[in-house]
């Protein structure tokens, strides 16, 4: 509907508030239900590693984690300049969700991830979140399928420290790989979390959350 005069910013804010009122949470998201869900997860049967595979494609990714771990441990050792390819984990695959649930360290933690793979390759993939856990001082190169040409990298301090420079947590550098694809060089510094995005033509092509363990 055309306006006969320009709205002020306050009027636009007011109109948006009217059109988008703060909603009551549905029952599934009530505090009681959330507490019950969290307790259920905490008290679930103690299984060293619980792996939920959502699809057959994701199952392939699970095998690839093991393969990647062996490959990383045997051939790469997490040393600078050597690469750990994530070509086996296409984001659109539907993903798989790993978490270690020992009743104490619920969720994915740096203490448990090594038992999923090993110290050299510690990755957790969920359908929405790609998380990498590094130890301070650890260096790694991630090979992506994103073309290097025209790609920018952006890193932000994520949750954890909350503020400060990403360099304080993990130094991140974009480099060109052998096949012209973008590679992300990581140099973990100290505890905290950052998110890293590869951006091409204004669109995020690749996203990874990196946590440097305490």
């Amino acid at each position: 509907m055309a306006q006969t005069r320009e709205l002020t910013t306050e009027e636009i804010q007011e109109r948006l508030r009217r059109e988008m009122p703060v909603l009551d949470v549905p029952e599934t998201l009530s505090a009681e239900n959330v507490a019950a869900v969290l307790k259920q997860r905490k008290n679930s049967k103690k299984t060293p590693i619980y792996v939920w595979v959502r699809s057959a494609v994701a199952a392939a990714a699970v095998l690839a984690v093991g393969f990647g771990a062996i490959r990383a441990a045997g051939m790469l050792g997490g040393k600078k300049g050597e690469s750990y390819s994530d070509q086996f984990f296409p984001e659109e695959s539907g993903g798989s969700y790993y978490y270690a649930d020992d009743g104490e360290t619920d969720g994915y933690s740096s203490a448990e991830i090594p038992s999923v793979a090993n110290d050299a390759a510690k990755e957790v993939h969920s359908e929405e979140t790609r998380v990498m856990v590094l130890d301070p001082g650890e260096e790694m190169v991630i090979t992506t399928e994103v073309p290097f040409e025209g790609t920018d990298i952006r890193s932000d301090v994520s949750y954890g420290n909350g503020t400060g420079s990403t360099d304080d947590i993990c130094k991140v550098r974009l480099i060109e790989g052998d096949r012209g694809q973008a590679e992300i060089e990581l140099n973990a510094v100290s505890a905290g979390s950052i998110s890293v995005e590869l951006i091409r033509n204004g669109e995020t092509q690749y996203h990874i959350d990196i946590t440097v363990a305490e």
Binding site: M1, A2, Q3, E6, L7, T9, I12, Q13, R15, L16, R17, R18, E19, M20, P21, V22, L23, D24, V25, P26, T28, L29, S30, A31, E32, V34, A35, V37, L38, K39, R41, K42, Y99, E104, D106, G107, Y108, S109, E128, T129, D156, V157, S158, Y159, G160, N161, G162, T163, A191, G192, S193, S195, T204, H207, D209, T211
Partner: protein, 167 residues
């Protein structure tokens, strides 16, 4: 934010965490709902946010930063969820219009204008309108410079104003 609750939550107390969550649950859900336009997806994303936040709360150093911190997790998840919608229409779906008492011309126009903003600008406006957050608080949630948030917010409102005039 009650520091005692935060300490208990960090020790793995689910009830304490749920009480912390309760103080921001409506804002979290509303933001997710209006950003995604799909009720079920909004519920899923908020629940994922909550479980991830509970798993990671030991890394939260300042209890007063809880709200910004959990919103930051939510916004990251929303961004990725929206990315998965590429090629699908999520504007003005039935979930949103039914939640707002049916579509009105004014409502359609202003929500269309909001949906036509770049992703980052839309996030800023949502947090401004729904949460009533200041620019520096939004900056912390989105990992941006506060001055950038201020300038983008001004520009976003100018764009909305221009779009409403055009429509």
């Amino acid at each position: 934010m009650d520091p005692e609750l935060c300490i208990k939550a960090k020790q793995g107390d689910a009830d304490a965490f749920a009480r912390l969550y309760e103080s921001v649950s409506s804002k979290l859900y509303s933001t997710a709902f209006y950003m995604l336009g799909r009720r079920e997806d909004a519920e899923d994303v908020v629940m994922e946010t909550v479980t991830d936040a509970f798993a990671e709360i030991s890394s939260l150093r300042d209890p007063n930063a809880f709200e910004g911190w959990i919103f930051r997790i939510l916004m990251n998840k929303l961004r990725r969820k929206r990315k998965s919608y590429i090629g699908e229409s999520v504007e003005l779906n039935e979930d949103i219009t039914s939640s707002c008492g049916g579509p009105s011309d004014e409502g359609i126009a202003v929500r269309n204008a909001l949906n036509r903003l770049p992703e980052k600008d839309r996030e800023i406006i949502m947090l401004d309108v729904l949460g009533g957050y200041r620019s520096d608080e939004i900056a912390a949630m989105l990992g941006m410079n506060p001055n950038t948030v201020r300038s983008r917010k001004l520009r976003a409102f100018e764009r909305i104003r221009a779009m409403l005039k055009e429509d």
